[in-house]
Homo-oligomer: 359 residues x 2
């Protein structure tokens, strides 16, 4: 067990935004929420899965919706408490702890907010090792853990609770209700025991995010090359450097979808990269050829500061570096690629591990 | 208390279809479901509200969705059991009985199906005295009774349960989820005590429906004028006789909306009636002038047999009579007209009681 206080929030949210691959929420809002809660209620205890009893019940908490909206609306916190407590009431069992369901600027810290406010511990793991746009896209699904009972609450005080026959149905219903709730909802879902999570979850994501954040901060202080430092820290590959040209966006069924086109600079001059996203960055094509695809991670970083840029933050004229990182092995299995491979998202290509292309 | 057995189903569903004003579900499907359940599990006990203890808990059950779909998909029954039992589990209290939430060919008999199958009593009342298209449109809302906890289940085994801050939010979320469930869901909602329902509900609707059904059956046997007999039995007014011309339909956000145009026959020759509907018949205009508006009831009857025609059944060439009936006084209050008056549905007219126009 170690303590999460407000001093680590900055690093943690920054590093989580790198793992968020453009999604997982805006780190600024997440940081503000968690800092306020820690100041008001006290710091949070972060446990590893090994430190918990096998039958301890853990319920992840997160924000669901289009990041476009998150930037405009600061979550008020009552909603996430409602969602979390609904699960406990519904199951009629005490919940031991919360955790992140995905790595991302907002969704790595939402559980910190909840843990501080309700004085429950948090577990150092998540269900993606990155961020993904849909509810069923977690390693829990590969291991047969149900997303339900699934609770979603809005800032007005409405709560919707569901029991579905599979995790795709949870996604279907929850997506509609999120749209009705104003394109944003706070959710609690995937109740599971510590024993189940030792198999199903991705361990140590919070610590990893914090470590990445620290590296970025130090590289900036030492005026080192932050992009290169991050690349090294995450074991990734430099894919492109360019200037953002057109960004095409559409909000579709509650998702922020679109494409950003980048024109190469330095050694990439003359090349064009097309980055396609659905809440998160999904695939990168250079000169029409697939170079990196989901489930591998694509981070877009400010070329000078290494600051990760969310899909919402992609803007004409920004000079960026694109880094690709290998995803967890769980996603590279047959079941994993069925859930989150490029074909699921409608791209006409098989998945090629990024190490094969760039290693 | 009296017994509902399969012999009364025919009359009950027929009469309820008159009160359903074109909606409330197809009487044929409702009858089949309830008959099967009574044959398999036994007849149903029907109580008046006065026969119950004040704190007995009653949970209405119904089908929600576009009637267009109901006709194609026979409900399998497991869904309505799931919805009903979810409410009991969620509240952690025994439910004493079920009731109809609306009068209608299907929704007056769905609770009979449930009552037979689960061996719970049914109460002789409803929340509309007719059928309406939206969840909040019940006399319960006028009396401050919450629609939630509200449960909805589909034939696959999915259940969605909600707690909302008002009954309009229940409608919003439930409508989206109904669309996701295939445009049809079975629902259990508006849990209330017998004491509350003595104030809020409309008593004796099941008996009224049965009585109307009996009258129609006898008029047919005696080769009487069934339309005139029905008109008299319901205390209504003959508004039009005509032949259906164009019927324009659209399914919009889970509703079956549209307009039917009728060309007058007999003493109505030369006149045209436009009937607008949203699951139920809402307003009738003759030669461009509003003659009958919601919340008064509009029934379209086969001119020869008196058979009530649902909005789904409106077809080119049918010769029909249009009858208007006064709604319950509860709908004629300020709160009632806010919920279900013509302006709520987007018609640019105030409500005029049908007796003032035709009395």
């Amino acid at each position: 067990m170690r303590i999460i206080d407000e001093n680590v929030l900055e690093d943690l949210a920054l590093g989580a935004a790198v793992l968020g691959t453009g999604g997982g929420g805006d780190p600024y809002i997440g940081k503000l929420m968690a800092r306020e809660a820690i100041r008001q209620y006290g710091p949070v205890e972060l446990y590893t899965l090994d430190e918990l009893d096998d039958d301890d019940l853990i319920v992840p908490t997160a924000m669901m919706g289009a990041p476009t909206v998150m930037v405009e609306k600061m979550p008020n916190g009552g909603d996430i408490v409602n969602a979390f407590e609904s699960i406990g009431k519904y199951l009629g069992k005490p919940i031991k702890a919360t955790m992140s369901i995905e790595a991302g600027g907002l969704n790595s810290v939402v559980p910190i907010y909840l843990a501080a406010r309700l004085r429950v511990p948090m577990v150092d793991c998540d269900g993606m090792g990155r961020a993904f746009p849909e509810i069923q896209m977690v390693t829990h699904t590969i291991h047969g853990i149900s997303a339900t009972p699934f609770a979603m609450s809005d800032e007005r005080g409405n709560t919707v609770l569901m029991e579905t026959i599979n995790n795709n149905w949870t996604e279907t219903f929850a997506r509609s209700v999120t749209v009705n709730m104003g394109a944003m909802a706070m959710i609690a879902m995937y109740p599971a025991t510590a024993k189940e999570l030792k198999e199903a979850a991705i361990p140590n994501t919070i610590t990893l995010a914090e470590d990445i954040g620290k590296v970025i901060r130090r590289a900036r202080q030492e005026e080192d090359n932050p992009v290169e430092t991050i690349r090294e820290a995450v074991g990734g590959y430099l894919v492109f450097k360019g200037k953002i040209g057109d960004v095409e966006r559409r909000t579709e069924a509650g998702f922020a979808k679109g494409d950003a086109f980048m024109n190469g600079i330095d050694e990439y001059a003359g090349q064009q990269l097309q980055l396609s996203f659905q809440n998160e960055h999904l695939v990168a094509k250079i000169d029409g050829e697939y170079k990196v695809t989901v489930p591998d991670l694509i981070a877009v970083l400010d070329v000078d500061t290494g600051e990760p840029i969310t899909t919402e933050g992609l803007r004409y004229g920004f000079r960026v570096a694109v880094i690709a990182m290998p995803c967890t092995e769980k996603w590279r299995t047959e079941k994993g690629l069925e859930l989150v491979g490029p074909r699921y998202f409608g791209y006409d290509t098989d998945y090629t591990p990024v190490e094969e292309t760039y290693g």
